[in-house]
Amino acid sequence: MSENLLDVHGVTKRFGGFSALTKVDLHVKENERFGLIGPNGSGKTTMINCISGALNNDEGNIVFAGRDITTMPAYKRTRLGIARSFQIPKPFVSMTVLENLCIPLEYAAHQHSHGAELQGEAMEILEIMSMADKADVRTGGLTQIELRKLELARAMAAKPRLLISDEAMAGLSNTEVDDILEILVRLNEEGLTVIMIEHIMRAVMNFSERIVVLDAGEKIAEGTPDEIVNNKDVERAYLGA
């Protein structure tokens, strides 16, 4: 157990009478590339919300780096090392791109240091994401694609141990998907653990070492990309019986 960075035990989340997640287990190893897939409405984003602390799960517990974080507020989880991007971009609209990155750098990565070195670090991240030319642009002036890249850049700025990418690549062109995959692979090589939620199968199948499939709030399959592709239950969930 101890080599797992993230352990999700029997997590259930209900919205009124509707059960969005039912007793789901996830185990993510340190430095793993982990894929989470499933049809629309299968509970992927709810799972991410429970892990990042945006929602509290009703049953089960979540252990990160040996600490039970089930009831911990989201900001503390970020400081412990869990960062996420949002499926629908949620930029800080009154700030420039650079200032957007300074928030997690200041609050999560360094906790209240400020000044030139912070901006320098933010610029480094923007250069990795090839967005350096947009540093002083307000987020209102960004395209949908740039907003998605900003989401990922901002999550990286929290200097996490676990990065959760929630459909960061939807709507991107093939070359842009490759660019982002390359960045994620490089970060992974430097020690980052990545959970990727993605509808672009080419991306998630190439990237992930292990994949979990959710359907209607339940885990229906787990395994390597090859095992998942040949799994009958997964085929049925996606295409119908």
């Binding site: 970020t78 996420r84 999560a108």
Partner: protein, 319 residues
Amino acid sequence: MSNEKRLFLIVAAVLVVGAFLITTQMENRFYYKAAYVVLQYVVLATAWNILGGYTGYVNFGTAAFFAMGAYTAVALIKTWKPPLYVLLISGGIVSGLLGLGIGYLTLRLRGVFFSIATLALAVVLQMVVSNWDYVGGGAGTAILKPRSVPLFSNYDEFLFFVMAALAVVAVAVAWLIEKSWVGRGMAAIRDNEEAAECMGVPILKIKLFATTVSGALMGIAGAPFSYFVVYIEPTSAFHLDYAVNSLAMPMIGGTTSWLGPLVGAVLVGTAQQIATVTLSAEMNLLIVGSLLVGFVVFAPDGLVGLFGKIRARLVGKEA
């Protein structure tokens, strides 16, 4: 200490000393009364903006915080007539605690629902005070101001000086918050609360800080009110003018910086004082209302934002 901070402190000190020097030179009591009202709005607008402008929670209940400060003072004056600084501190504490309570509402209420709750708070508190006979109840009560005060030739001049000093303190507090990590966290909350929390911003702590500081400053502004008006009753202390003005002034001046509420309060407050004398007392809100509509439609970033845009355009042309 940075140069910026030092300059700000020097300007603040000069303004306070300047306000004192004015009282040794000028006689006409009306100007002190008018200036007191304008300065009171500098405090209220600045306080409102810490929560409304920086953090994005629109408070319609300014009158509640202001009146709680005023009535805390009235209750104290009725019991043992403490010196003014005790009234200021007590008013600040009571309204600060009220602000802290309102802060916990933000756990469940956001956007317009929070605003409605603050408006309701003002109505409920007005009812309570109206039925509290010790502080005069609905009919109100007369407050005798101290006959003399050292260094000042009369109490109105002293109150003007106190409010000038409070205005400087309020703006300095807003400025310090804006330039600190807390201020940047507030901006993140205003822009997107969920994203802010996921980026490591302790949103509840910062929101509670904002509501408490904002409420406390409003309470401090209200504490000398009964000495100023001499006769205090709930309808005037809880008047809707306070809520409307302290919201409109930052909107007109600009909500994202400390300068906006200051500019808005000085311009609109002065215009109101002039209109009261030259036109009629009822013209006040008409002026504010039309200005507010105009700014929301044509210059949503207020005067400060408008000025910034014009400057950017001029610089752009030169380049």
